[in-house]
């Protein structure tokens, strides 16, 4: 599903954000990527999104060699990946329904399909009643649920969550993790980048630990 082979990314000569990293994530896996600031987690995500090019090495996702993707093919590749951010990144001038529909409009989905898919995604995240609300009228947890609905409405093969609980209290954090786990149970490969060790422990999933651009440990389960 996702394979990094000896990937190095240097922003400036001699300073590697990722250093000769090799790893594999299978289809349907739920993986945590943990590490301190500067460990290379964000670089890892940006490489997967093909926002950055590796300095050396090879990245293969869903059978595609990212190095061989043309600029025109990138949008189509990204449509297979859902992204959730720490700061939600919702469009403040649009209501919940429009925010989720936005992900479908961008991919030029017909209106009749949008009308079916948006309510279904809202039901999955438990916000069916709030479709008319604007982001500022929602709590942090609710905003993150809208962001998840937007990420899954295109039924992506991979869901990447970058610090999804970074701005949330423990109760809301747990709710968000449950939603991500549900998406995983529906067959989506989920990658969560986080600092929240407590949640990582409780979820009992594979954990990749990074430090200064290197993978220092890769454990299948850390126990409950």
């Amino acid at each position: 599903m996702i394979e990094l082979r000896e990937v190095t990314k240097e922003y400036s000569k001699g300073i590697a954000a990722l250093n000769d990293v090799s790893l594999k994530i299978e289809q349907g896996e739920f993986v945590f990527v943990v590490g301190d600031s500067g460990a290379g987690k964000s670089t890892f995500i940006r490489l997967l999104m093909k926002e950055l090019e590796p300095t050396s090495g090879k990245i293969q996702v869903m059978g595609q060699d990212l190095g061989k993707l043309s600029h025109k093919q990138v949008p189509f590749y990204r449509r297979k990946i859902g992204v959730v951010f720490q700061d939600f990144r919702l469009l403040k001038d649009r209501n919940v329904y429009e925010n989720i529909a936005f992900a479908l409009r961008v991919t030029e989905t017909p209106s009749r399909v949008i009308k079916k898919k948006v309510p279904a995604a809202l039901s999955l995240v438990g916000l069916a009643q709030k479709y008319k609300s604007f982001p500022k009228e929602l709590s942090g947890g609710e905003q993150q649920r809208v962001a998840i609905a937007r990420a899954i409405v295109n039924e992506p093969s991979i869901l990447i969550a970058d610090e999804p609980t970074g701005n949330l209290d423990p109760a809301n954090s747990w709710e968000i993790m449950k939603l991500l786990e549900e998406a995983n149970q529906r067959g989506t490969t989920v990658i969560v980048v986080t600092h929240n060790h407590e949640i990582v422990k409780m979820m009992n999933k594979r954990v990749i630990t990074m430090k200064q651009g290197n993978v220092v440990s890769d454990e299948k389960k850390v126990g409950v």
Binding site: P75, R78, L91
Partner: protein, 302 residues
């Protein structure tokens, strides 16, 4: 592109304009000023061209014949000149008509003196052809041709009038071309600034769009539509104003300088707008498109 996507892009383009109101108004106003000036120059140039054309119609060359030339030969010369390309009209002026014209031009009010010439026409060899040309630029060529014809004694031409009109025409075209070019660059720069501002305001939205798989064309479309709408508004406003102002300006010129009435003949507004309307609108759309297209392309690459 799907109809839904087009609808969405147009809606977003309109939204961009209202979100970015002050900059949009500034762009429309500058654009309107540019197209207004363009319209004024255009109206002046087309009218001047029209006046020049009219004046050119009056610029004739005069062809005199050898004393031995028979009436038949004179007639043949007329036919040959008439056939030549660029000749609009050939008019025969007899010696009597030439004298009458001379007398009325120079001896008007001095009928007694004029009477003395009646029986002894001093212009007996002055019967001629007045040859009117389609354009002054052809004068030299036609003169050369006519001078080469058998039986032609002399060809008189008015070089000064022809050359002055021609030179002034070219000068006016250069000056107005340069001014219009400067205005276009200013307008493109302003639209580009407005679109840049819109892109800055929507930077977050563009980033999200790209993350969730929007094609470049989808991201670009609302900004290009914004630029085109600004261009159309910036062109439509001055074109409407000019339409109504044109007639009034001509009336004002004519009443203030009534002496011009007999000399100048202005084009009707409909005639000027036959070209000005499509050119003005195309200019608005073009400037809007170019200004926004290259700006968004630059930002998308970054």
């Amino acid at each position: 592109m799907r109809f839904g996507t087009v609808k969405y892009s147009v809606k977003q383009g309109v939204k961009n304009i209202s979100r970015n109101r002050m900059f949009s108004i500034a762009s429309i106003a500058t654009m309107a000023a540019c197209i207004f000036l363009f319209g004024i120059f255009f109206a002046i140039i087309t009218n001047f061209n029209y006046i020049v054309e009219k004046a050119e119609e009056g610029v004739a060359i005069v062809v005199y014949f050898d004393a031995e030339a028979t009436d038949e030969r004179v007639e043949e010369i007329g036919e040959e000149i008439e056939k030549y390309e660029g000749v609009a009209e050939v008019k025969y002026v007899s010696a009597e008509e030439a004298l009458d014209s001379f007398l009325s031009d120079y001896l008007e009010g001095n009928e007694e003196l004029a009477e003395g010439f009646k029986d002894d026409n001093p212009l007996v060899d002055s019967d001629n052809y007045e040859v009117y040309l389609e354009s002054v630029e052809q004068q030299e060529e036609v003169v050369e041709f006519v001078e080469g014809l058998e039986g032609v004694r002399k060809v008189s031409k008015s070089d000064v009038v022809a050359k002055t009109l021609e030179n002034f025409n070219v000068l006016l075209a250069y000056i107005s071309g340069a001014i219009i070019l400067i205005l276009l660059v200013v307008a493109i720069f302003l639209i580009s600034n407005t679109v840049s501002m819109g892109i800055t305001i929507r930077r977050e939205e563009i980033a999200i769009m790209k993350y969730i798989g929007a094609k470049d064309s989808f991201v670009r479309a609302p900004f290009i539509i914004e630029g085109i709408l600004i261009g159309v508004a910036g062109a439509a406003i001055p074109l409407v104003i000019l339409y109504f102002a044109y007639g009034k300006a001509i009336n004002a010129i004519m009443s203030k300088f009534s002496v011009l009435n007999s000399i100048l003949d202005f084009l009707p507004v409909g005639e000027v707008y036959k070209t000005l309307l499509p050119v003005g609108l195309a200019l608005g759309v073009g400037i809007g498109f170019i200004g926004s297209f290259f700006t968004i392309r630059k930002h998308l690459k970054a």
